[in-house]
């Protein structure tokens, strides 16, 4: 089984990258790979609660993310500095099972993977 880390670094609605990352992530998980995800930079905006994307006629990404553990994606990492720089605290996230990690831990996480996929 391959260790695959999805790195999602873009905000949810400005481009389709965040949505595509989620779809690819769920597909990989269905195929039984050791699938993990890291949210960093503007990617942390995907996790903000109270998203109401109906106002721009788009499906809510925030509402989809809590499905990750159901697909056996249980290792969900969030870069602490990215949260801090954007003034987002841990209790404002749509997922409560995330691991918030600093830059050094991100560095170690990358070094452990067989494959990195960046979105």
């Amino acid at each position: 089984m391959k260790k695959i880390l999805f790195i999602s670094r873009h905000s949810p609605y400005g481009t389709s990258q965040a949505r595509e990352a989620l779809e690819a992530l769920l597909a990989a998980a269905v195929y039984g790979q050791d699938t993990q995800v890291l949210f960093m930079d503007d990617g942390v905006f995907q996790l903000v609660n109270n998203q109401n994307s109906a106002t721009i006629d788009q499906k809510s990404l925030g509402a989809s993310l809590p499905a990750l553990p159901l697909y056996d994606v249980e290792k969900i990492y969030v870069h602490s500095e990215s949260l801090r720089n954007r003034g987002i605290s841990a209790n404002e996230l749509v997922l409560d099972s995330v691991q918030i990690i600093d830059s050094q831990a991100v560095s170690r996480l990358l070094a452990q993977q067989d494959q990195l996929l960046s979105f």
Binding site: E81, V106, S107, A111, Q115, L116, S118
Partner: protein
């Protein structure tokens, strides 16, 4: 070697290089390409951070065709090595994973 980081955005208008350098590990390499080559300039906002990475022994490359195309060859930091496409391919296979910062 563990991860080859590719950066293709200018540090004058994007944070991709900054993020890359923040999480770059000891066995990693960095290659700047497309507009990413502006990050090798001595005047770049990421200059100090790049110096620190180089001091830690991490090698940093800039893709020569992209440097030449932009006419910035004379303005680059001396420690940044120039790589041709062949070298880029070699680096890609020498590292276990490739992470694209864009």
């Amino acid at each position: 070697m563990s991860t080859l980081h590719t950066v293709n955005k200018s540090p004058f208008s994007h944070t991709a290089l900054n993020s890359c350098l923040t999480v770059c590990g000891p066995d990693d390499g960095v290659i700047l390409l497309e507009d990413g080559v502006y990050g090798a300039m001595a005047s770049a906002p990421s200059h100090t951070q790049l110096k620190e990475i180089l001091a830690r022994g991490i090698r940093v490359y800039a893709l020569k065709p992209d440097v030449d195309a932009r006419g910035i060859g004379e303005k680059l930091m001396a420690e940044v090595e120039l790589a041709d496409y062949e070298k880029f391919v070699q680096l890609s296979v020498q590292h276990r994973c490739v992470q694209s910062w864009y």
